[in-house]
């Protein structure tokens, strides 16, 4: 038995928003893999539940003019088997494979992963790199906001009272002209929380893998109290040949991150991992950019 004090299962999104608006303490629950654990641990913040599990308006994926729309209730398992998502946002699929184990991926949703506000959410780095937008619906209506800035602190997000995340919007990686890569450093290869997660998106000025960096986007999880993008390192890389860009990033990075010491890893060790993963992911993303650009060239000349 979970210690709910109240439980409602609305049949529509409108009803769900109304129920949340009526009770400021109520929380939406999707897959429950964060909330139900918290309840087992005896936390009182999740005693009033509005159950949005399986609401049809939050399910499914679609694409419109190169923009991928992912319903917030989409599970990581559903993402990983979606050919649409694999084609348009391969970086997100790469990260989804790192989440927990099969049973959790079968119930844990992307919406819950974002709204839980954790610094270690595996979807955060790819979504930040891909400049994802969030489509929220609440008592005041609908709004579309960038994910960047949504995280306010550990476990805190910029979700207004009564709001529900309806979908995540991502412009396709191809349309954004990026090669991408994500990796999670953790003690175990599965069923473990990240010590550091790192995602990179790279566009080169020419199609060589050591070409000039036209744009770099770099994001980390667990490197600060919230998932972060790295504006200083990104600016330092711009306009440099890849090998120099990687060095410039390593030097600039400590202005963008503030890794903490915990039982998992000491702060200086985390900083070492951050620099190492940044170099690896930038190089991998650049290689992928070059090979997809080459493929494109071929397709065009055929």
């Amino acid at each position: 038995m979970y210690a709910f004090e109240s439980y409602h299962r609305p049949q529509s999104l409108t009803d769900a928003v109304a129920l949340l608006a009526a009770n400021p303490f109520a929380r939406p629950m999707a897959g429950g893999t964060d909330i139900l654990v918290r309840l087992r641990e005896g936390h009182k913040d999740y005693a009033d539940i509005v159950d949005i599990h399986g609401l049809p308006e939050l399910e499914g994926m679609s694409a419109d003019r190169g923009e991928l729309r992912i319903g917030s209730g989409t599970t990581f398992a559903a993402l990983m088997t979606s050919s649409l998502a694999t084609r348009l946002a391969p970086m997100l699929i790469e990260a989804a494979g790192w989440v927990a184990g099969p049973q959790i991926r079968n119930t844990a949703t992307i919406g819950g992963n974002i709204c839980n506000g954790s610094a270690c959410a595996d979807s955060a780095a790819p979504l930040l790199v891909l400049n994802a937008h969030l489509d929220l619906i609440g008592p005041e209506g609908q709004r579309l906001i960038p994910l960047r800035g949504f995280h306010l602190g550990p476990g805190r997000v910029e979700r207004r009272p009564g709001e529900i995340l309806r979908s995540v919007r991502i412009k396709s990686e191809q349309d954004q002209g990026l090669g991408t890569a994500y990796v999670k450093y953790s003690m175990r290869q599965a069923m473990d929380i990240a010590t550091i997660g790192c995602g990179a998106g790279v566009r080169l000025r020419d199609d060589q893998s050591n070409g000039i960096v036209d744009e770099l986007r770099l994001a980390f999880t667990v490197a600060a109290p919230t998932p972060v993008r790295c504006p200083t390192a990104e600016a330092a890389a711009r306009g440099l040949p890849l090998s120099q860009a990687v060095k410039a990033v390593a030097e600039a990075l400590d202005q963008d991150v503030s890794p903490r010491t915990s039982w998992r890893a000491a702060g200086d060790f985390r900083m070492h991992i951050i620099r190492t993963l940044a170099e690896r992911m930038i190089r991998t993303a650049a290689k992928r950019f070059a090979s997809s650009a080459a493929n494109h060239q071929e397709a065009r000349t055929c």
């Binding site: 038995m1 979970y2 429950g32 139900l36 159950d51 099969p102 049973q103």
Partner: protein, 171 residues
């Protein structure tokens, strides 16, 4: 209280439940004690059951969510007194020691074998690493996992019963 209908191991049920119940509570109250509570927080997989053929942790799943769904536990895998091919593979490989993890593992393997077949994956191409990743949500304190990997391999290599049926009924 909440009323729901679902099938458990192919038998239809109409149940009245407390909305605070987990699927684990529901199933154990029905006498299905193969569903074990190890950790209660999604870490160990001892409570794994299939909901519409998808493996979930019954300890982190609301009973209310199974309305209209089909649940499978290890009790229902025995047909006409015969173990399922996956169960038999665990016996043959010696993959059962204390047995606490076994029902959950068998359900994870059952879902894994079924999905490999649906995707038309050749068992030859499935590596021990793939098998381990597919079973990463189930802990076992006794076996050291090697015999479990062998059991899964044996289960994958058995002929597909659904294909055998179509062949035998083909003219």
């Amino acid at each position: 209280m909440l009323t729901l209908s679902c099938t458990i191991n192919d038998r239809p049920h109409e149940l009245t439940i407390d909305p605070r119940s987990s699927l684990l509570d529901l199933l154990r109250n029905q006498g299905l004690t193969s569903v074990k509570q190890g950790c209660g927080v999604g870490e160990c997989g001892a409570c794994t059951v299939l909901v519409d053929d998808t493996a979930v942790n019954a300890c982190l799943y609301l009973a209310a969510w199974v309305h209209g769904k089909r649940i499978r536990t290890v009790e229902g895998e025995v047909r006409d007194g015969c173990l399922s091919p996956v169960q038999q593979a665990y016996v043959d490989a010696g993959a059962v020691q204390c047995g606490f993890c076994t029902p959950g593992l068998i359900m994870t393997t059952t879902a894994f074998v079924q999905s490999c077949r649906e995707q038309g994956r050749d068992p030859e191409d499935i590596t021990p690493e793939d098998i381990r990743r597919a079973h990463a949500g189930n802990l076992c304190r006794c076996t050291g996992y090697e015999t479990i990997v062998q059991a899964v391999r044996q289960a994958l290599e058995q002929p597909d019963p659904s294909k055998m049926d179509t062949e035998s009924t083909a003219p």
